[in-house]
């Protein structure tokens, strides 16, 4: 067997390239210069295979502060050194094994991250939300309010975005204030409420942190009684009472921290982060919505109104939405919700919260002058 052969040697101090002879010694690789002078003696255990191309074995010396390099291109010699030296790993078996370990541990880390994302973050957020001072929540609410308003306002020329300020709308605003007053008295929330109707065609309502509730014009149009509107407002007051806005802000921040920073970006994973967040938020929001429904039923019963009205308007509104788009809706299956509301409300119908004349005025709150 060939026990010596040609190689190229760089001493790590200068770029001078030396054509050398490599000798295979029982304990070490011997590097000899042109005149047979010993340039280096590298024990097999200290050899380090460094990156090169397929045809060459490039060796360094582990632990050395210099970048000494020995390049062997003779296939026989490469085979012998590979067999004698433990750190040299031409077949890549050890590299593959350590890679597998990296992948396995990363998968484990990701699973635990997902579990924290699904269970830990919401738990933490709901535990922390009560400790956020009300003054901070209100200030946060003002910021969000400004942003949401800018987002919702279609900017119709010459019309106030909020309903109830034109001459012909004032009676409607008075009716709304009476309705909200009855609910607020029953709810006794620690934050001042501001409930307004705004000019948007969707049948919807939203609650922001700090007690801002927006009822859309489209919802008033779809409602058949004041109690139905009251039921929806009650649902939104449930979000305010449970501090859901603050909680979801904390959750969103927690999830951003968790996924946004750890999940990196080889191709643009930003969209994936947002999608993952949406799906996770969706899973939380089902429970949150159900809790707000129960709060609304309770509130309507306390205020003496028709607790089942919320179920009735929900059925009417969501019936109109095509089934395919359901994944993006923040509300659990309507049928389940309506049934749960019905069960909680019991059989009693209650008395309407507003007189017929007041309800008629409320319906014209966005009518204009």
């Amino acid at each position: 067997m060939n026990r010596s052969g040609p190689a190229i040697y760089f001493d790590g101090e200068s770029t001078a390239r030396r054509a050398v002879t490599v000798e295979i010694d029982p304990a070490a690789v011997l590097v000899r210069g042109a005149e047979g002078r010993l340039l280096a003696r590298w024990p097999y255990g200290e050899l380090e295979e460094v990156a090169s191309h397929d045809g060459a074995l490039r060796l360094g010396r582990s632990g050395s502060t210099k970048l000494e390099r020995l390049e062997v291109r003779d296939p026989d010699l490469i085979r012998i050194i590979d067999a004698l030296s433990h750190p040299v790993d031409r077949s890549g078996t050890r590299t593959r094994r350590s890679r597998r370990k990296v992948v396995l541990w990363s998968v484990a880390a990701m699973i635990s991250l997902l579990l924290v994302g699904i269970y830990g973050v919401p738990l933490l957020a709901s535990r922390l939300a009560p400790y956020v001072p009300l003054s901070v929540e209100r200030r946060f609410g003002e910021v969000v309010d400004a942003q949401v308003r800018a987002m919702l306002d279609p900017g119709q020329q010459g019309r106030n975005f909020e309903c109830g300020w034109a001459e012909g709308e004032k009676a409607g605003r008075a009716a709304l204030e009476r309705l909200v007053g009855r609910l607020a008295a029953a709810a006794a929330l620690p934050v001042p409420l501001s409930v307004v109707v705004v000019r948007r065609k969707e049948a919807n309502a939203i609650a922001l942190p700090g007690g801002h509730v927006y009822v859309f014009e489209g919802l008033i149009d779809k409602a058949r009684s004041a109690d139905e509107v009251a039921g929806v407002i009650g649902h939104e007051l449930g979000h305010v009472a449970h501090r859901d806005g603050t909680r979801s802000a904390l959750q969103a921040a927690g999830l951003s921290f968790l996924f946004g920073l750890v999940l990196g970006d080889f191709v643009g994973g930003g969209a994936v982060v947002i999608a993952a967040r949406t799906v996770l938020q969706l899973a939380y929001s089902r429970e949150v919505e159900a809790a707000a429904d129960l709060y609304a039923v309770d509130l309507m019963t306390k205020a003496g109104g028709d607790a089942r009205a919320l179920g009735a308007i929900l059925e009417r509104i969501t019936g109109a939405i095509e089934p395919g788009a359901k994944i993006l809706l923040n509300h659990p299956e309507t049928r389940e919700r309506v049934e749960a509301i019905g069960r909680a409300a019991g059989g009693k119908a209650g008395r309407p919260l507003l007189a017929p004349a007041e309800w008629a005025a409320l319906q014209r709150i966005c009518a204009g002058s």
């Binding site: 790590g12 994936v272 982060v273």
Partner: protein, 434 residues
């Protein structure tokens, strides 16, 4: 194409074709990495990326660099990448330690309404500076991990100085609609190369901004002039007084008046659309030419001690690279589309029998996300295996180096640097977070 082969040094008795050719003062670079193997490496990497939700990227990046560096040969010797995935991971953790508090601070600032606008502008500036800081420091990491003939490259200079210069130059580029670009690149490249060293050799950049401007200005004219002309014509076509009257009046007849001002508005939209369409089409068609011009100019300006590079890249070569990518990308898109249809069909059939439930909804959403990830990773792998590697190959194989003897007596003179910049770049590129 390779100058080494053309010059034909006497073949040595033993060994493959890339046996070192020492006695040469001029020569080209060579790249002998197999694209098939590179693609295999990328596909396996993509699989692991999915399994580890991206954490594998440090190992994949390192593998890619080891492959590219190791297969690149200049004057008979190949480059060596000595960086490790563990270093990249540590750099990432360092960047995380810095950015987590900043991220938290920005989040908390949103609670104070007055500070919101200020924090937005400040945050943007800070991000831009940090990004350029990271670019410079990441370059330093890469250079100190690049070894050639047992001697490493390194970089001096201040990353903050570079960041400030770079942000100012990019402002100038934005304000001049791109016309300042050649001078900006030349200036930044001069700063980078002046602080680039190989052992005791120091780099230099001799490319001139004015030259690049003369080369690129015709392209700028072809893209921008019709676009601006279309926009100007559109502005001139509108009867502003009628339109103003229409929008100023409120009430029900505003729409009617708007329609009266209509013909001129329609003409304006057509003109602006034509200008915009032309601009976009020209930009797409001329982009490879632009890449060829800038790459050739940049490579031809590089100097390292007595070594000077001259690049002979032709625009046709760059067009071929992009056409090849488009071909493979279309094939992949077709395959992915067919697969998506089949999967959707199966799901449709299954959901009819199972019915709808919350779990099914979340499952289908996850499937959509998964499909998106697979498609994006697929395109990324195709891009890297067609465009990126070909640009790497062309950069070395179309470039002729003169004064290569200067590389023979270089003395080593540096230690490896921290991977912090790489980590910062990695964190800043993330979609979420900041």
């Amino acid at each position: 194409m390779s100058v080494v082969e053309v010059a034909g040094a006497p073949p040595l008795a033993k060994g493959p074709s890339h046996v070192p050719v020492v006695d040469m003062d001029r020569g080209g670079g060579r790249f002998h990495g197999s694209e098939r193997r590179f693609f295999g490496l990328l596909v396996r990497g993509a699989l692991y990326l999915i399994l580890t939700l991206g954490l594998y990227r440090f190992w994949l990046t390192t593998d890619v660099r080891r492959f590219l560096w190791g297969n690149t040969e200049v004057a008979g010797d190949s480059l060596e990448y000595t960086g490790t995935a563990r270093e990249l991971l540590i750099g990432f953790l360092m960047a995380l330690a810095l950015l987590l508090p900043i991220n938290a601070l920005i989040f908390l600032m949103t609670f104070a309404p007055g500070l919101l606008k200020l924090s937005g502008a400040l945050g943007l500036l800070l991000l831009a500076l940090l990004g350029q800081f990271a670019v410079f420091r990441a370059r330093r990491y890469r250079l100190t991990r690049t070894v050639y003939r047992g001697v490493r490259f390194h970089q001096t200079g201040s990353a903050w100085v570079y960041a400030v210069r770079s942000v100012l130059w990019w402002c100038a580029i934005a304000l001049t609609a791109g016309l300042a670009y050649p001078w900006a690149v030349a200036n930044l490249e001069r700063y980078k190369m002046r602080h680039t060293h190989y052992g005791n050799l120091t780099g230099r950049f001799d490319g001139s901004g004015a030259r690049l401007f003369l080369r690129g200005f015709p392209l700028w004219l072809v893209v921008m002039v019709p676009f601006v002309a279309g926009l100007a014509a559109a502005l001139a076509a509108v009867d502003w007084i009628a339109l103003g009257a229409a929008t100023a009046t409120d009430g029900a007849n505003a729409r009617l008046r708007f329609e009266e001002a209509g013909p001129s508005v329609a003409a304006a939209i057509v003109l602006a659309g034509a200008g915009l369409g032309w601009g976009a089409l020209a930009a797409v068609l001329l982009y490879p030419l632009f890449r060829a011009i800038t790459l050739r100019w940049w490579l031809s300006g590089l100097r390292l001690g007595g070594v000077a590079a001259t690049c002979h890249l032709r625009a046709g070569q760059v067009y071929a690279v992009y056409l090849r990518f488009i071909g493979y990308a279309l094939l992949f898109g077709l395959g992915a589309g067919v697969l998506a249809l089949v999967v959707l069909g199966v799901i449709g059939a299954a959901s009819e029998s199972i019915g709808e439930s919350a779990a099914a909804e979340i499952g289908s959403a996850l499937l959509v996300v998964g499909g998106y990830v697979v498609v994006m990773l697929g395109y990324s792998a195709i891009y890297q295996a067609t465009v990126m590697i070909r640009f790497w190959r062309l950069s070395f194989e179309t470039t002729e180096f003169a004064g290569l003897r200067a590389l023979e007596g270089v003395r080593a003179a540096a230690a490896p640097s921290s991977p912090f910049g790489e980590g910062l770049l990695d964190v800043l590129n993330t979609g979420g977070g900041l």
